[in-house]
């Protein structure tokens, strides 16, 4: 398993493509091998891809507001399918409406995501923690 293999995609019925393309470019630039599934990706498509390339992390985007519905149960599904140790990141406009980010963070950490990011996060800084988190799980 290559430590820099990561899966990227926008979950659910979400069509927001712009941020996804940028995350791909930045992480690729930072030396990651990015498998970008684009928009409208189901939980199982993420897991299939992660298994296929032996990814160290899955980066889930949810921009359109249905994150609370679409992202639920993903950690469990990963474990079910044998990805016990995979690093799970999630970011974007994760819930409906303007809500305090700390609340949102707690909500998604409770769902089993390792890190939760607001839309304003600088992707270069994410690259760094991503490398560390993957290394720590090896």
């Amino acid at each position: 398993m290559s430590e820099t293999n990561v899966i990227l995609g926008v979950i659910g019925s979400d069509c927001h493509a712009v941020g996804n393309k940028i995350i791909d470019t930045v992480l690729t630039g930072e030396g990651f091998r990015v498998t970008n599934l684009g928009v409208m990706v189901s939980q199982d498509e993420f897991i299939d891809a992660a298994i296929e390339v032996g990814a160290g992390a899955i980066l889930v985007s949810s921009i359109y507001g249905h994150g609370e519905i679409d992202c639920a149960g993903f950690r469990g599904r990963c474990i079910e399918r044998g990805l016990e140790d995979i690093v799970l990141y999630v970011g974007g406009n994760l819930v409906i409406g303007k809500r305090d980010f700390s609340e949102v963070e707690t909500l998604f950490k409770d769902m089993g995501y390792d890190r939760v990011f607001p839309p304003t996060v600088d992707i270069k800084s994410v690259a760094q923690s991503l490398r560390q988190d993957i290394a720590a799980r090896q």
Binding site: C15, H16, M40, Y64, I69
Partner: protein, 481 residues
Amino acid sequence: MQLRNKKLDMDTFLSERTEVMTSWPTGKDVDFEEGVLYQLSLPESKRFSSALAAADREGRTLRQPRAGVALVDEHIKLLQFLEDTCDLLPSTIDAYTRLNHYEKAAEGIARSTAAGTSLLNGFPAVNHGLNECRRVVESLTKPVQVRHGTPDARLLAEITLAAGFTAYEGGGISYNIPYAKKVPLDRSLRHWQYCDRLVGLYEERGVRINREPFGPLSGTLVPPFVSHCVALIEGLLALEQGCKCITLGYGQAGNLVQDIAAIRSLRELAHEYFQAAGYTDYQLSTVFHQWMGGFPENEAMAFSVICSGAAAAALAGATKVIVKTPHEASGVPTKEANKQGLEATTQMLNMVREQIFPMSPTLDQEIELIKREVRSVLAKVFELGEGDLAQGTVRAVAAGVLDVPFAPASCNAGKLLPVRDNVGAVRIFEPGRVPLPDDVLTFHRDRVSERARAEKREASSQMVVDDIYAISKSRLIGRPR
């Protein structure tokens, strides 16, 4: 059956209709004839086309928010709350419904009821069905439009039009390429012929339904000629199916001269193409969307973006403006934030409305540029279609002749790369396979080089990324700091 830009014949339409109406249980409540009667019973004040006609006559720009929540009563409350501060109302449909995932929408409704707050990003009209939709229309005093992003919007159209909505947004290109991933273009075009035909049938019964292709596409640095081409094609396709009231749209690019030129050229081009295709009996209007790309998180700054769009809409003379909110960067707005966007817009429209943006060679040149670009691309589309616009469109998109930047659809080439020039107008950095005259390409190249020189760096994809972030980081142009 092969896709053709030809009015669907009644048999085809009706046999397809049976299938559409049984694709979800709420379809069975709809009766077309009864829908016509219901529409005819609506007062003039609820008819979208009448409001647009009056505004166009008086040179006013109407205000329309976006708004939609999961539950009917909350949705009504939301629209009633906004009604005083706007001229036209929306019902923005949730993203599950847009992709015909009605079970998922049902789950969203259930969870929203349980949570006591909307967990959907819009109003699931299909799930709520005819009578609940009528309750929406009946609770309001102003015209209501269905605003969505649905490649197959047939059932949604059947339900909402029978329910008294008097305007319907979308189109086979504009509701596929920015909104879907794997829907073949000929399929969405075909499904939108159905919607347009349905509108045409209402028209034939004396019920005018306004049709609005979705102008802004991906909302991200779309050069005016790209969205104009799509708007004109969808306008022509709609006219063919018997639609008569067309609103063509455009999303603010941010450079005032370019934005004014865009709205003016759009209107002129529409008359040019519609009349060349033999249509004379139509009602045309325009819609200007306040900035559709990433917003600043800071609300005071968001107000500024909203105001710049409102000013441009009024100066450009658009018939209506679609209004953003100070919550844009964060999430679906509260009703209060939504109203604030409308209030800021109202004030700006009222302060700018009577003012005249002077004609000047610069503005003329920009209008001419857009027209030449559009004519060049559309000529190729007609050529590829061997005279058939629908076929031409499918082939043009496949060939990258029509190319929408930053769109998710796999049928879209995505080779065209836009970038801002040194005064913030959106220009072409990489034309991909879009056929533009050589001197036009040279013009774009020169403008981009001028900026590159000013910034002492090469034009590059980094420059494009900087431009994508720029407005959210309080800049128009993504200059290096």
